[in-house]
Symmetry: C2
Subunit: 335 residues, 2 copies
């Protein structure tokens, strides 16, 4: 670590203070969406919109907007739209995962059944894409539509490859880039585009977002194996049970000799009972979790490099801070 | 009936011959959509796109395009987009209804499970809305987005009001206009807009589509009660079991005296066993099905009047023919 203050990293946290005013506006606009719905549908939408999230996508749009010329109402709006898309995918994810609670409140499917939750997710999703048509520039809609399709396809591919031991690391990265990276990338790239930034800046901010989303997903996947439920506040150790082969497992499978591989395959496929603590223990023992975290760390380094295209500003520092925040989370997984 | 040939109605059938070439292009473009998806997702999309439908929405877009200046590739494209949106709603409908087959082939949920079907519907839906951004005119995207949101909201409202005996006829019409009317109306109105037709023409064609969709839904709802499964080729008599109160039932409830109403309420709410043949028998005896069909017929008359804004052409005749086709279907329900 450097000894001079000038070389220390920005604090590893989400720069909430910097985006406080804008984030308040994001929250207000998210809650305001209910008015776009029929009075009979509005209460459901209100419930879904009231379950708070980290709002990471709007924060990225705001920071990228600030870093490319200043935050405008358009940056707030794109943040809102991408967050709504994210929220509607969560409504459907919870059905698929049979999740009863999210962020400590009952999920839509738990409250009103799977059928209603499918339709509510659809209504929120179609509304989000309709909201994108408020921009006069059709290229913005196109990018929003593209990102949505990427997310949906990523989810299809993930579900399709459950319990599929032929899944390669390449496949894994392809899936998480689509499933998680695409909306992060849309947030930062569209923000740059709305600022009238150069194509180079937009492309590099797309890369930044894509990498940040990818690293975040790897973190989330490691957390599922080694995180503490009490600290994280959600149910963990569910991926393998659902047949989701994440990076730590793929690392372990890659390193295994034929006999070990056979043992793992049996455990994963037959999984009755799935001796999860043992598998996790082996994965940690063999350094598979560690090397996944290392991969995420180096992806974050690359993401940080993409920010060099931006002029120095508190907003650019904010984007950098987010990478250190995530880095810090990764380190906490290393125990 | 008029004695002179000049005054006879156009044949009551969908004018397939008139739109043959264009419909072939629609089919080709629908099948072509698989190429927009990741190779691992494409086979699923291909399966869904290969289940043929009546393609009524594309036909309406083509006819309305022809009737407002001539069919262009843009009319074909909007037909494809609206049909894809319709198809993605069917994928989700089948989950909610627990349907195993549609048009004689296994549904997506039957083939790959509910979770996968949710995600595939989402992927197809997001793709449809992305496809709409190919139009340079953002107002087209806006109209597509609006129609999609209407459809989704209509579905939410329908599900929400299951087994709700306070549902009024006004509520019913509101729901079916959103659920079914919106996409029909989008087909004819957007087609007019793409032709550069006047706002008046666009508005009247919107009304035409909305009414046609509404009449079609009433027909479908009557069919559920009195249709022949063998002729229709799908499972019938399921609405009441699912708590869907359709026009014939609402008519019956409206006409019932307090004691009769109480008996019906009991039958509908308790429904163990739901003595469906008896309820249908009563509905027919009391003329409730008949008066629903009459309502649909007069809605079709109004739809036809909306076409007076168009200059005479085979395409306008085609739009008229569709109303007589539906009229004919209504008459077949009168037995």
């Amino acid at each position: 670590m450097s000894l001079t203050k000038a070389h220390t990293h920005p604090k590893p946290k989400i720069p909430f203070k910097l985006v406080k005013k804008e984030l308040k506006e994001v929250e207000a606009q998210i809650l305001d969406q209910v008015h776009a719905f029929d009075p009979s549908v509005a209460p459901y939408v209100d419930y879904i919109c009231n379950t708070s999230g980290k709002r990471i996508r709007p924060i990225l749009a705001i920071l990228a907007g600030g870093a490319t010329g200043g935050v405008t109402p358009a940056h707030i709006k794109i943040g809102v739209i991408l967050e709504l898309i994210h929220m509607s995918t969560l409504v459907h994810d919870d059905i698929i995962d049979g999740a009863d609670t999210r962020r400590k409140v009952p999920t839509a499917n738990a409250k009103w059944g799977n059928g209603m939750a499918v339709l509510l997710g659809d209504a929120l999703f179609s509304h989000s894409l309709h909201l994108a048509t408020d921009f006069d520039d059709i290229s913005i809609c196109r990018k929003v539509g593209h990102a949505s399709r990427e997310v949906c396809q990523g989810e299809v591919m993930q579900t399709q490859r459950r319990f599929d031991l032929t899944l390669t690391k390449e496949d894994y990265f392809h899936i998480i880039e689509m499933k998680t990276g695409a909306l992060f990338a849309a947030a930062t790239a569209i923000a740059a585009s709305l600022s009238g930034a150069s194509q180079e800046t937009e492309d590099l901010l797309y890369q930044y977002g894509l990498k940040l989303g990818t690293a975040y997903q790897i973190y989330d996947d490691c957390l599922d194996l080694v995180g503490s439920e009490a600290q994280v506040g959600k149910t963990l150790r569910t991926d393998l049970e659902k047949g989701k082969l994440t990076l730590p497992l793929l690392n372990l499978l890659e390193k295994a000799d034929p006999a070990q591989r056979e043992k793992l395959n049996k455990r994963i496929i037959e999984q009755q009972p799935l001796d999860l603590p043992v598998i996790i223990g082996i994965a940690e023992y063999e350094g598979s979790v560690e090397s996944s975290l290392d991969t995420a760390t180096s992806i974050l380094d690359e993401a940080r490099d993409n920010l060099l295209v931006l002029e120095a500003s508190p907003w650019r520092d904010g984007l950098e801070q987010v990478t250190y925040y995530l880095d810090d989370l990764l380190n906490k997984c290393r125990r």
